[in-house]
Symmetry: C2
Subunit: 337 residues, 2 copies
C-alpha cells in the first residue's frame, strides 16, 4: 500500500479493494464483513430493534483518552444502549481527505476494532469515500448501529413512564471529554492531564437493567452536556427536574480549565456518561450496581423528578439558591464529537 490515501482508494476499484482487505477486513475481522456484499446479512432474534446513526468530525482526531475511531464506536454503542437495547451490529463509513496518512488511518481502525471487542459488537458493513485535498478535514467517520430490544424495555428511550419522585442518576464526573478535546487543540497549547471519558457503556447499562425494572429513561450526555439532556427531558414532560449542585462531580483539572476558558461544565460534552431516571424504590440498588463497574465508580444520585415548575430543570445551588438550566442557544465547542 502507498503511505497516504489517494483518490483511487475511493474509486471502488483495485485500490479500494486493497484498502478493504488490508485494513478493514483485517482489523474488524468477522465472517459477515469478509463476504464484502452490498449489504451485510445479519441475524437478530428480537422483532423490536433499535437503529441509530452518528457522524463524527472531532478535531483533533487523536486526544487524551481516545480518538475519532474509539469515539465513533462508543458513541453509537451508547445510543443503542441508552435506548434499552443490546448493541449488536455496527456499520462504519469513512470520508477521507486525499493525502491522509495511512498509518493514522490504521491507528484509527485498530482503535475501532479494539473498542468493538470491548463492547462485544461486530462491525459488519462499511464504505470509504475519498475527497480531494482541502475538501474535508482529515477524516470523518459515520457509524450506524442495530440493537436487539426486549419488549419490556421498549419505552425507555421515550421516557414515557417517568413519574415525580423518580431519581436522576449519572455514572460519574462531567465535562471530561469536551475539555480533553479542547486542551488537545494545537492553537491552545495547553498542558493538562485531562482525559476524555470516552467509553462504551453497554455493559454498565446492561448490569443496571438486570437488577431492576424501574429504569424509566436513559440518555448519554454528549453534545450540549448534562444540561441539554435535562432540558430536553423536562421540556417534553409534565414535571420539573431538580438537580442538587453539590452532588455534581467535576474533576479538579476540568473545573479549572472550564473556569479559565469560561465554560460551564453542565454544557460541556461527555462521551462516557449516562443519565438515568430511576423509580425511587430501586434508585439505591441501581447506584450500588453502577458503582461495582469501573465506569460507574463515581455514580451519584444528582437530583429528582418533582411535581413543580413543570417543564423546567434547575439547579439547587450549594448556598440554597435556584438556577434555571436553559437550552444551549449557540455553539460552545464546535467539533467536539
Amino acid at each position: 500500500m502507498s503511505k497516504t490515501i489517494l483518490l483511487g482508494h475511493g474509486s471502488g476499484g483495485k485500490l479500494s479493494n486493497d484498502l478493504i482487505k488490508d485494513l478493514f477486513v483485517k482489523y474488524f475481522s468477522n465472517d459477515i464483513l469478509k463476504e464484502q456484499t452490498d449489504a451485510a446479512v445479519i441475524q437478530v432474534a428480537s422483532k423490536n430493534l433499535a437503529f441509530t446513526t452518528d457522524s463524527f468530525v472531532v478535531d483533533p482526531i487523536f486526544f487524551p483518552g481516545g480518538d475519532i475511531g474509539k469515539l465513533a464506536v462508543a458513541g453509537t454503542v451508547n445510543d443503542l444502549a441508552v435506548s434499552g437495547s443490546k448493541p449488536l451490529f455496527l456499520s462504519a463509513s469513512f470520508i477521507i481527505e486525499e493525502g491522509f496518512s495511512l498509518a493514522d488511518l490504521e491507528r484509527i481502525v485498530k482503535s475501532m476494532a479494539q473498542e468493538a471487542k470491548v463492547a462485544g459488537i461486530s462491525i459488519v458493513t462499511g464504505d470509504t469515500k475519498v475527497v480531494n485535498r482541502g475538501k474535508c478535514d482529515k477524516v470523518f467517520i459515520n457509524t450506524s448501529g442495530v440493537g436487539g430490544l426486549l419488549p419490556k424495555h421498549i419505552n425507555i428511550g421515550k421516557g414515557s413512564n417517568i413519574q415525580p419522585g423518580d431519581k436522576i442518576i449519572i455514572n460519574g464526573t462531567i465535562a471530561d471529554h469536551g475539555m480533553a478535546v479542547m486542551a488537545a487543540r494545537e492553537e491552545l497549547s495547553f498542558t493538562t492531564d485531562i482525559k476524555s471519558d470516552c467509553a462504551c457503556l453497554n455493559h454498565l447499562i446492561g448490569e443496571a437493567l438486570a437488577v431492576t425494572d424501574q429504569i424509566r429513561f436513559m440518555r448519554d450526555a454528549t453534545r450540549g452536556g448534562l444540561a441539554t439532556v435535562l432540558c430536553e427531558l423536562a421540556e417534553k414532560k409534565n414535571f420539573g427536574i431538580e438537580i442538587n449542585e453539590a452532588a455534581l462531580l467535576v474533576n479538579e483539572n476540568v473545573r479549572g480549565m472550564c473556569e479559565l476558558l469560561g465554560f460551564d461544565p453542565l454544557y460541556v460534552a461527555n462521551e462516557g456518561k449516562v443519565v438515568m431516571v430511576v423509580g425511587k424504590k430501586d434508585a439505591e440498588k441501581v447506584l450500588e450496581t453502577l458503582r461495582k463497574n469501573e465506569l460507574g465508580q463515581k455514580a451519584a444520585i444528582i437530583g429528582e423528578v418533582v411535581n413543580e415548575h413543570l417543564g423546567r430543570a434547575w439547579l439547587t445551588t450549594v448556598i440554597g439558591g435556584k438556577r434555571i438550566i436553559d437550552m444551549l442557544a449557540g455553539e460552545q465547542l464546535p467539533r467536539i464529537c
Copy 2:
C-alpha cells in the same frame, strides 16, 4: 430560522432542535422519527436482515436527474434491494459546512423525502454535524439502511449459487450518472441533455424476484461502473464471464461525451442500474418482467457465465475480438457519488 447553516445548528442545543423540527421531522414525517429518541425503535418481522451504509460526497450536489439527497436514498435502497431484501428503514446523517444555504438544504431534504416515498421506506433516525467553513465541501450525507430478508433470498448477495450457463442481465443503458455529474461541473461548462439514471430499484427488483427463484446474484453498478461489478464477480468464483459488446446500450450523448473526454462507459458510474445473474431457463421471463417497469424498459441480456477463462471477465467485441475487462487501477472520476 436563519438563512444559512451556523455552527450552532450542530451544537445539540436549541438551533439543532429547531433544524430537526422545522426540516427533518417536517419532511421525513413519520411517527418513529418524531419521537426524537437516541435510537429509533423499529419492528421487523424477519429474523434475517440486510444492513448497509454509504456516505455521499457527490460534486456538484445538484445535477440533471438528481441531487445528493435523491442519490443518498436511492444508493442505500439499492444496496438493500440487490442483497435480496425488502428495504424498510433508513438513517440520514448530515455533515454540513458552516454557511451552507438553508434553502439548498431544504431542497435536498425534500428530495430525500420524495425519493423515500417512491421507494416506500421511512427515514427514522438521523444526525447533524456542522463543521467550520472550509472544513468540508457544502454537505456530505450518510445513509444506512435495514431491510427484511426472506430465507430463500439469503444467498443472493453472495452469489454462491452462480453456475455456468447463467445469463447476465442489466436493466438499461450504462454510464449516464457519471457523465451527467461530470457535465454538471462548472469547470467544464458543458451543455448536454445527459441525465443521471439515479433511481430506487427496489420495486423493479421485487417484481423480478416475484416471478422466479432463479436470480442467483444482483449488484448495482455504481462506482467503477459495470466493469467493476463483472470483475469482482469473476474474481471470486470458479467461472468466466463473457459479455457481448453489441448488447451493451449507451445513450448517444453519453457515448459522445465519453469519447470526447476519454472515458470508457464500462467504468463510468450508474445509479439506477442493477446487474443480475439469472438461471438460463428463467432469463427471458425476468427480462420480460423488467421491461414492463419504467426503470427496466431497455433491459437486456448482455452476456453469460461460462466455463472457461475462470476468474476473468471479457467483452466479445462487435468485430469478434476479445477484450479482457480489468479492475480499475486508479480513479477516473472522483466524487461521483
